[in-house]
Symmetry: C2
Subunit: 374 residues, 2 copies
């Protein structure tokens, strides 16, 4: 597909940072949860190396929160995920697939416990507010479900901690992975967590006051000048190297957690009330397809083989064995990397497969650095 323009209307919501993104020269967007998500500032390669070497500020406002509060809040949130949330600490976040009664994945958010009776579901791309509201309505639960105006800003990269400390103080250093603290900023207490969709380290600032958006952006850029801070965005290259999955691409509503390698986020033996657990216990890892990695030694021209649903068909000799869901050229490893859903009958580590006439080898996800660097 050739380069296309994006048409923007009120429906494709802007964010409190949009004017700053424009000023910073954002070149491309995608739409995520009905909201603009920047995807390119410089060249793809320059964006990539900058993230890996310095620190970037990402407008991930589109990572919308579904707030569930009230007496039945914990019960409703637990009902939606097969991961045991009973031992979640205050201000802790947990990656928790949202699954339906068939065990299929409706979203793969981070669930954050703000209080015993107040939770945020920090979303991937689907309207989970509707699912949560529908369940609450049908089960007659005593909860309020809504989308608060919270606009996460991620600070990612090896110098992220230094930058965050300059804005929020040294206390940020003590935040552990997937934990958060309420930190002071210009008279507000803001939830700041050590998390983010990269493996370069970093934080997410859950800004709940839109009016402070441009000030926060400016403060980060002023404080980070000597750190070479720059605008950035979830990086399609780095995240594939790191094996981070994208809901809607690698994971779809037609998949269960076993197929996507999310087994470790399921608590099959837990004594909890979860909609999907009965189905998932039954499936128990017995799946007919599974998400794996593929490494190609040369660059592959994927665009020539797009199928009608936006994926790329994968072959073992003449046999159609699955579909590539995400792929990228890795400048670091000088290899083409893909994530693919492949029929288990054809799965074997190191097995050769082909797409667009190019041969690659199957590997488990996440890719092992030794293998990539080999």
């Amino acid at each position: 597909m050739q380069q296309k323009l994006l048409s923007v209307t009120k429906r494709t919501r802007t964010t409190p940072f949009s004017r700053r993104l424009e000023a910073a020269g954002v070149k491309a967007y995608t739409i995520y949860n009905h909201m603009l998500l920047p995807t390119l500032f410089d060249t793809p390669e320059a964006d990539y190396w900058h993230l890996c070497e310095h620190v970037q500020v990402w407008d991930v406002s589109c990572q919308r929160q579904v707030e569930v509060c009230g007496p039945d809040a914990a019960r409703l949130v637990q009902l939606m995920t097969p991961r045991d949330l009973s031992k979640t600490d205050l201000l802790q976040g947990k990656y928790a697939p949202i699954c339906d009664a068939q065990g299929n994945i409706l979203n793969d958010p981070i669930v954050i416990k703000l209080a015993d009776d107040r939770w945020w579901i920090s979303l991937a791309d689907s309207d989970i507010k509707l699912w949560a509201s529908g369940l609450a309505q049908g089960y007659g639960m005593d909860v309020k479900v809504f989308e608060p105006d919270v606009f996460p800003l991620a600070v990612q990269g090896p110098k992220a901690e230094e930058l965050i400390c300059r804005i929020f103080g040294e206390e940020a250093k003590s935040i552990k992975f997937f934990r958060g603290k309420m930190l002071a900023y210009r008279g507000e207490l803001i939830y700041v967590a050590r998390s983010g969709w990269s493996k370069q380290g970093g934080f997410e600032i859950y800004l709940h006051k839109a009016e402070l958006g441009e000030q926060l952006w400016d403060d980060l850029f002023e404080a980070g000048q000597d750190l070479n801070v720059g605008p950035g965005c979830p990086n399609g290259v780095e995240r594939i190297e790191a094996g981070l999955l994208s809901y809607g691409s690698d994971i779809t509503e037609a998949n269960n957690p076993f197929e996507c390698g999310l087994d470790s986020y399921l608590n099959l033996d837990a004594d909890i009330e979860s909609l999907s657990l009965p189905a998932l216990r039954k499936i128990g890892g017995s799946v007919t397809q599974r998400l794996v990695g593929i490494i190609f030694d040369q660059s592959v021209n994927f665009s020539s083989s797009a199928n009608t649903i936006g994926g790329f068909d994968l072959y073992d000799s003449e046999q159609h064995i699955g579909e590539v869901r995400s792929q990228t050229w890795s400048w670091r490893y000088k290899k083409h990397l893909a994530m693919a859903m492949i029929k288990t009958a054809y799965l074997a580590t190191n097995k050769q497969v082909s797409v667009s006439g190019c041969e690659g080898n199957i590997h488990e996800l996440p890719f092992m650095t030794e293998v990539l660097a080999n």
Copy 2:
């Protein structure tokens, strides 16, 4: 906002017609229901006149269907909308706002009755499948809720009927507005309805076989050569002239049907089981804001006054009185037209309001042709 590129991944789904759109020179897209929706082929003005004078084929695959089938199907669909569906004929479509228990609008689809126990909800931009599934789950209903692979293709414009008859036969002529028939096409019976998001007349073909997509596209273009058939898309100018609302822009989840002028689609006195009816009866038209039209005699530079949530603030002298949600220059009427949500305290027909320093006058929606042409 300057022109931006759109980043496309598997998550932003392509359609069975995507390759044909590319070949036809599509220039811009938006994302709608996680799917590519074309927005521009020639210039905005050329696209507009072509629609009004000839016939266009629109890929509106993103108008996804939620299929509800099973013994409780009619009950669930009725539960979701305050419009009385009890007298819906087979293959009839009804514009039916989906509202929650507070009376707020979650979507404004066309609901189609395929059988007593099988319905399609032909969606605007939100994941109503999740809402319907959540309700079905919570209420323990005996239904199946899913998104079938149906890809609507709209044929719109004054020559649409002629073109549709050439492909589907003269029987198409007998289809009344918002009614449909199962018509034969290359060995398949396809649901064809007289509907579409323009006032130029036309049909929507609910293609349920992706494999036939390119063939159907080609057949339409071959049969319509002498009709000057062209590629098109929901037209942001024509639809505002016609007063057609866009969910996500003009209508949001924070609005109820009274605020959006949808009173005539509510059956407040009906003896039906609908989640939102109790709340809507209570509201009963007593609202604090309402969607109206604004006509400006000159072109307005809206981009200079975008607020942080993608709308444009509206003033009565110094007083903030509401927000413009959609706007366009009308080549036909040589006026700038807007749809705006305005506090009822400030509403009066013909009243002057200002945005971006330009003065306009309030009018009821849809705009009256006499007023536009004046």
